[in-house]
Every structure is written in C-alpha cells, then in structure tokens.
Symmetry: C2
C-alpha cells in the first residue's frame, strides 16, 4: 500500500464509517492488515477485477450497483467453496471522468454488500489513472478444514442443480443495448433487480455444507454451459441436462421473446430456442452450480426454501467423457461444441 | 475469479511451472484458493497496484523489472509488519499494446521475486482493457501472534534507522528523464541496479523481529520524510534527524551532482542540499524505517551485516509534537512544512 496519504486515508475514512470486521488485529492505515483466522479453519482467497466498458457500463449501471456487483462476484466465488467471507482489500484506479462522489458510492455499496455477508474492507489502494475505471477486489474467507467444495469432486450419478435464473445478466444487458441510447428501462423490473443487486448465495452454501453431500460446486459467472463444462472436466464426469428442466421464469421468457422479435437472435430459431440459449449461454450471473448425492435433494429443497433461494434440479452426471449433453430441439446436443452459443462474448 | 477459461488458465499454467507454495490446500484453477495459516500465526494482507505511465514507464523499465518491482512493493509492506510472505493473487488488465510474451515476462519475474521470499502465486485474474496496463498484486503472509510491527508503537528516545539508500528510485527516474528520449543509461549501473531489482528486506525484518526491540516500522515507499512523518503521527512522537547522518553513497552523490548541473534542482541550492532533498524526498524505494530500543543498536548492526543490508542510524524520536526536525543548512527545519520538497510528485 504505497500511497498511504490522502488516497489510502480516503478508503480508511470510508471503512471507519462501516462496521469493523471481527478478527481484525490491525485494520486499515498501516502497511498491511493483520487478521486472525479461527482455529480449525483454512483461509479462502479470491480476486476479481471490473474494468469499465468491459465488465460494466455506466450508461446501464450506477456506481453503487457496480460496487454491489463487484462484491457479489467475489462473494459468489467464496460461496462456491462453501466458505464464509471475512475480509476484503479494494484497489481502485480512478480516471478523471469519475467524481469523488461516484467513487465513494461504489466503495460504500461494495462495503455494504460485503458487510451483509459478514466481511469487512481492511485495506486497499487508490491510484489515479488515465484509462478506464478499474476496481480489483480481493476477498478472504474461512472454511472449516477439509470442508471446502471444489469443482473436482463430482461422481457419476450425482444430481446437478443450479440456483437462481441463469441468463438474467445477459438478457438484461442485451435488452439495455437493444436500442440507441442504451437504456435499462427496456428490461422488466424483476429482471433488472436480480442483475443490479445480485442476491448472495453464501448463506445457502453454508447451510448445504453443514448438511453435507455436495461433491462439486462452481460459480457460473462464465455462463451455465461453460462452467458446467469446467466442473465436468475437473471431476471427470459428463452431465446430461434436460432442456425442459432448465430454470426460466416469466421475466426471462419475456426477455427472450422481446429479443427474438427485435431480431437479436438467430434467424429461424424459435423463442424456446432463444430462451435455452439465454439460460445456458455466457452471462455474468453470480449463481451456484452444485453436483451432489441424490439422496440429499429433498433436504436441499427445504434449505433452499428457508434461504429463499430458487434451486432447480437440471440434470445428472454421467460416467465417462466430460461432456455436457442436452436434449434440445428433440435431439441430443453436445454443449461444448464451438458455435452452439451465439451469445458468447469471450 | 470469473474468467477461468483461457485467461485464468494462462496464469495457472505459469504458476504450475513455479514451485507450489506450502500450505496450499487448493491451488489455482478453482473458484478460490484454500490456504492453511499455521497454528499460532496471524494472517497479514496487503495490496498494491501499478498503472503504466504512473507507477512505471516502459521506456525506463522492462516488463520483467516491473514485475520484480511489483513484488518488491508488496514484500516491503510485509517486511514492515515483520511478516513472512506466503501467498499472492495477481490481477492484470492488459491493453492490446502489450504482447503475450511481455505479459509472461512480467508475471514470471513477479512470481520469481515472490518465490525468493517463500511466497507463491495461488490465483488471479486476467482481463483485456483499452487503458494503461494495470497490475494489482495482493500478498498474504503470516506473523507469530502479537509479534507484528505497526507504525504506532514508537516511544520517545527510540533510535531511528533506515535500510538501503532512500532517494535512489527518484534519482534513477530523474536521470532517465533528464533528456529526450528517456534513457536509463544516464544512471550509473550501481544506482540502476537497486531500483530495477530492489532487494527484499523480509529476511532482515524477520531477524530483527526475533531479536526483539523494534517499536515501530514503516515501509518508505512514499519517501523517507513523508513516511517518517506517518510513523511519528501514528506513534505520537517527534523525530530529530541529523543531516550529516543521512545515508548517501557515492552513486546518490553523483546523481545529485549531475541533476544539479543539469538544472533539475532548485536555483541557489548547493549539491549538498540537492542530495539531502533526494534522500528525504518522494521516492519509490522499498526500504524500512525502524524505531527501536537504543540498547539493540549493536545487535541490529550485526544482523544487518549478516543479511548484507545497509542500515543507517539517522536520528532519535522525541517527546511531544509529532514533528520531524532536521538540522539542515545549519538551522533546524520542520520537514512536514509544505514546499520543503520540490521533488514531491503527489
């Protein structure tokens, strides 16, 4: 932290107005933070960077919403490890086009979203820069030793389930950008809400971890199909999805229909195809994909209700090839073929 | 870590070619890393961002040197807490102007400098961006519980000492930029070497911590006078420096003389004045300022020799006002007056 003058003190001032985290032995304002991991726990660490114009647009998201999404992106990584968030370091590169007030709104919203899951900002960095606004958040958490989930533990015959409504972020962005100028007012309130203020899955993940039976978990911020393929590869299993089982609520159905009509979709594709592509395709949703012991399903359903988390059973893992198959348009399709996803942005 | 595709895998591939850190339960390639802090130790966390054009220039430093300096900036923060480096997360924002090879050289040099102090890269993030190259490193370490140094523990009557040759980074940069085009060949090899490959003070800090007696410590990456003032404020003590005691070797003396002659310095100032300004002024040197029990001096001198670390006793702390006084040009000057430092860049 090389600029402890006015810059660091600004973060320190912000942080001092928020609840100080537990286990903070030395907080913001020194060369480094000193933190106490509880006995019998391991440290869990993740980091995520948002670059303006690439990971968010100011004509679609407010600074506060961007701060909340930055927190959510990192919280989702910890949820996917069954970890409990504790401390964070926030580094910003600020171009002249950002006002002090906008920057504070982003920081504050990020800190608030972290605090809702028990994590406190304990350090950071602030630098002036000529390029796009860039924010890097490093989030530290704890997990009981040996209790972490990874992508690699699924077994053939596991059930596969996903939280939330994957595809929502892609649908929201596509609607906002479907006219000139971009406007989020084209997205229904229900759809916008889950994108601009993504709910945290940390509490639900911790409840499942206590219940036991999760063999593999992954955050689907690359999109459901892509991250499902990552988990299959890491676990050495395949997955058979049923198109009819994919979660898609009214808000997503409406979005797919509007995007279809506005010509944003593949020619000749039906609205149902477009909906499937939305749900499976590239989309920055901070939701969890879980592979688990089939006998646990009814208990997980109950925990999901208690945590108010939509949870959908979307398929089963299979022996052999780490392929993701979906019964789609009446035939089996392999999802990791190039070109299946015309939403792909990476 | 939302982009685990080709981008994250590139870092993972790099990391797999380097020694895997100890205490790494889950390494790169999952949603987060899982790390084991040893019993009886606390976690120490710092982060630092380098933005091209602001914290480094490609016409003065190679990508590998920039990577080594990024590691050094963070290692220095941990040294200032008496902590032992263990794990790091590296996040890069890459503009098209950087080649893959340049990026790999930076990453590799950063990882190598970290490894030399026992730390391993366990995660990170890679994003494309249109702005300047930006690298954020978060470094995690450990310290025996209750053994960390802070800025705030100095007592009146402590000795004040500094490692290395503060001002070297400012002198190197001023020389490199003193003509058009910029060229580091204007700086003597000895001066350049300590800037492009900053030595780590971690081993020395750990040796001092074992010896005991350090009351306050701070990394002087803001410059000796500025960070001395930070430590004085945090500790509630003043410091009286003696100009004649300030460390300045032949390389710095030559640099001050050359810069004086080239008109880069204040009119009417003598070369000795310029040298003092260089040593005290803003300069990105990753050196330690220490305030400690006077009885420890001879032991610290011995440890410094053993660790091959230049260590200079530059003054004493005083009771009362948190002011930094220096006997300069024959009179006492208060260093935290605005305008004393015409090198100031922030």
């Amino acid at each position: 932290m090389p600029e402890p003058g006015s810059e660091f003190e600004r973060i320190a001032a912000l942080v001092s107005s928020l609840p100080r985290g537990e286990g903070v032995i030395v907080g913001p304002g020194d060369d480094a933070a000193v933190l106490r991991v509880r006995d019998g726990r391991d440290l869990v660490a993740t980091t995520d960077t948002f670059v303006e114009g690439r990971h968010f647009r100011r004509d679609v998201l407010t600074p506060a919403e961007t701060g909340a999404r930055l927190a959510a992106a990192n919280l989702s990584d910890l949820a996917a490890m069954a970890a409990e968030p504790r401390w964070a370091l926030l580094s910003l590169v600020l171009p002249p086009s950002w006002t002090h007030a906008e920057c504070m709104m982003l920081e504050r919203a990020c800190a608030r979203a972290l605090a809702a899951d028990g994590a406190a900002i304990v350090g950071g960095n602030l630098a002036a820069g000529e390029g796009p606004f860039t924010a890097t958040l490093t989030l530290l958490g704890e997990v009981e030793r040996g209790m972490q989930w990874t992508r690699g533990g699924a077994k053939p015959g596991d059930l596969v389930a996903v939280t939330g409504a994957p595809g929502s972020a892609a649908a929201f962005l596509a609607l906002a950008l479907s006219g000139d100028p971009p406007s989020r007012s084209r997205a229904a309130h229900e759809l916008a809400e889950r994108v601009v203020a993504p709910p945290s899955r940390v509490r639900f993940a911790r409840a499942l971890a206590r219940a036991g039976g999760v063999h593999a978990a992954i955050d689907i911020s690359d999109g459901l199909a892509a991250d499902l393929a990552h988990a299959c590869t890491a676990s050495g299993v395949g997955t058979r999805l049923l198109e009819a089982a994919l979660p898609a609520d009214g808000a997503l159905e409406t979005a797919a229909r509007v995007l279809s009509n506005s010509g944003g979709q593949e020619r000749g594709a039906s609205p149902a195809d477009d909906l499937t592509r939305l749900v499976l395709g590239a989309s920055d949703d901070y939701e969890l994909l879980l592979m688990f012991e089939p006998s646990k399903w009814s208990e997980y359903e109950r925990l999901a209700r208690e945590c108010a988390v939509p949870l959908t059973h979307i398929g089963e893992t299979t022996e052999g090839d780490a392929r993701v198959l979906v019964t789609w348009r009446g035939t089996e399709t392999v999802l990791d073929q190039p070109g299946w996803d015309h939403f792909a942005r990476r």
